[in-house]
């Protein structure tokens, strides 16, 4: 055996002096056993437990209640006499087979597509314009504040305001269009009529909430490192290329988060529907959540309302799970979570 082939003692240790992971010593376990010296483990349990208890009381318990009544024929009478019958899946069958529900789903899709998606698109574009085109920093901030003002109004008041602006005869919006020459002086657009009611809702929503993605994307843009842009300028890249190859890819996650937030809020809040159109005319601007409210609170068809609520809840659960997975990934990449 030549000396060359001898195992070197040096090979048994790597640079950090670690030997190959051998059998672990008997005291070692991957699970930590020692109790923290800093804090009694009861304390964190209580600190996290308090909100969890609150959630159980005001979210879980009511949700379970709704699940229960979704399978019963509960209405105002039976609630008071505490006498309700199990009806199996009847409530769900009723909801799913109704045209009203099917229509409301289509409304919702349109509302989300033209509401939430459009808001994110517009907000991103505006953020980019604000950052790239407006040179003065002070002017930028003033414009930003003006654009964010609608967000500070209660959604219900926004609904009232737009209902007022969109009145057909003496509404300011129609008359503004006339003044700008975009509408003949004798013409009136019936904004709150059956055909346009949903669109009016969308306009009001876009007016109020475009500021949210705008604000988020703008701040994301501000925090991008300028060094990259200087490098791109040295390379002589056009603005369009810079936008497409640098800015948008780097803001991808932030835009996605803005979208998620807007999407879920649009999915769940119906204040404007209530105030502006009350779902009308002829149920042409109803959203599923609105019907659930209507059935539950106004008509007291609790069983049916619960079925609506549960369907909405299940869809939301799926969406939220997907969104939170994504959020987790983004935060992991940032080293936060």
């Amino acid at each position: 055996m030549s000396v060359d082939q001898l195992p070197l003692p040096a090979a048994a240790l790597d640079d950090a002096g670690r030997a190959a992971a051998g059998p672990y010593p008997d005291w070692f376990s991957k699970r930590r056993r020692g109790r923290s010296l800093i804090v009694n483990p009861l304390v964190p349990a209580v600190m996290v437990g308090l909100p969890v208890l609150v959630i159980i009381a005001i979210v879980i318990y009511p949700t379970v209640w709704m699940f229960y009544h979704a399978f019963h024929d509960t209405n105002m009478m039976s609630l008071f006499t505490r006498n309700w019958q199990a009806v199996g899946w009847d409530n769900f069958a009723l909801v799913l087979s109704s045209d009203r529900f099917a229509d409301s789903v289509l409304h919702l899709l349109r509302y989300l597509l033209f509401g939430a998606c459009l808001q994110v698109l517009l907000g991103t574009a505006l953020a980019q314009i604000l950052y790239e085109v407006v040179q003065s920093n002070a002017l930028r901030i003033v414009l930003l504040i003006v654009m964010v003002l609608p967000m500070m109004l209660p959604p219900s008041i926004v609904g009232v305001l737009w209902k007022f602006l969109l009145q057909a005869d003496n509404g300011a919006f129609n008359h503004l269009l006339i003044k700008l020459g975009m509408l003949a002086p004798t013409d009136r657009i019936e904004w709150l009529d059956a055909d346009l009611a949903l669109w009016s809702l969308i306009i009001a929503d876009v007016w109020q909430w475009t500021a949210l993605p705008l604000l988020i994307v703008y701040s994301g843009r501000v925090s991008l490192p300028p060094a990259i842009y200087e490098a791109a300028r040295v390379d002589g890249a056009s603005r369009w290329l810079v936008l497409r190859r640098i800015t948008l890819p780097m803001l991808k996650e932030i835009i996605a988060i803005a979208f998620i937030i807007r999407f879920m809020d649009a999915y769940k809040f119906v204040d404007k529907v209530y105030v502006m159109t009350a779902g009308g005319p002829a149920q042409r601007s109803e959203l599923p959540v609105f019907i659930a409210f209507q059935k539950g609170i106004r008509e007291f068809q609790v069983g049916e309302a619960a079925a609506y609520a549960i369907i909405i809840f299940v869809v939301a659960a799926i969406l939220i799970t997907l969104f939170l997975q994504y959020l987790k990934r983004v935060l992991k990449a940032q080293g936060i979570a």
Partner: protein, 279 residues
């Protein structure tokens, strides 16, 4: 791209910005204009874009109505109390989640708590009605709204405070322990000052949400307690809506959030983006 094209794009972009500013600004402008008009001018067939008769007394008018004043106070009570409660619970839980409850359990717990903010509240409203009805305070009370808004604000506060606490280096607390501070004192000495801007943004978001909420307040309360969004539909004379008062009152009620935003804008974006954007 040729120079002419660049110019064209620039013009289009500026036009878009201008149109958007008109779209955003006009309703606000018209709100202000309307709030200064007498009712007769509002009811004309052709609306005026500047008040022919100035009536700043509209603003005095809304405060002459005791209901208006009370509704603002009610809103203030509900939103402030809810903010304090949300922030307190959220800070406790956020701190524990950031420091001590880590790993799979902590992560899932944090996302579970956050998910509660995203769920449509429609699923809980009816049972909440009965739940509050069974309490000594009943549905039409401060307590019911303060507790109800926890559904939205507490998960947000917990989540965001957790993110902020994770940003505050753990080593600083450890240094404080070695200086002789107990965990409780170290928290106030080191950690709290570091997360204070974050807390402000959380408080602001919670407060504005509660201040502006309408639907639940409308369904649960309305007699004993009446927050300002619920009060607004009462500005009527017969079947006629007093738009000038509605707008004047809305503008007044809009002031606190707007001022909060202008002053604390820097801290707000982080919270709005669930902690992702470091504003």
């Amino acid at each position: 791209m040729t120079a002419a094209n660049v110019k064209l794009v620039k013009t289009l972009v500026l036009a878009f910005l201008a149109i958007w500013l008109v779209f955003t600004g006009f309703p606000l402008f018209f709100m202000i204009v309307t709030s200064l008009k007498p009712v007769e001018e509002i009811n004309r067939m052709v609306p005026t874009f500047w008040p022919e008769t100035m009536r700043p007394q509209n603003y005095a008018g809304i405060f002459a109505d005791p209901g208006s004043l009370k509704s603002l106070v009610d809103s203030l009570i509900v939103s402030s109390a809810n903010t304090v409660l949300s922030l307190f619970l959220g800070t406790l839980a956020g701190y524990a989640l950031a420091r001590w409850v880590r790993g799979v359990v902590g992560e899932n717990l944090a996302f579970f708590i956050l998910s509660n903010r995203m769920f449509p509240p429609v699923a809980i409203l009816i049972p909440m009605f009965f739940l509050f009805d069974a309490t000594p305070w009943g549905t039409d009370s401060y307590v019911s709204l303060i507790v109800l808004y926890l559904v939205f604000n507490m998960p947000l506060a917990t989540w965001l405070m957790m993110v902020f606490f994770r940003d505050a280096p753990r080593e600083l607390e450890e240094a404080a322990y070695l200086d002789g501070y107990s965990p409780f004192r170290a928290f106030f000495k080191v950690t709290l000052p570091l997360v204070f801007p974050g807390m402000i943004s959380v408080a602001m978001l919670c407060w504005i949400f509660a201040w502006n909420e309408y639907l639940f307040a409308n369904l649960l309360t309305g007699t004993t307690v009446k927050t300002f969004p619920v009060h607004i539909p009462t500005f009527t004379l017969g079947s006629q809506t007093l738009w000038n008062l509605v707008m004047a009152f809305s503008l007044v009620a809009m002031l606190p959030p707007v001022i909060l935003f202008i002053v604390l804008r820097r801290y707000m974006v982080r919270g709005l983006s669930l902690g992702v954007v470091k504003g």
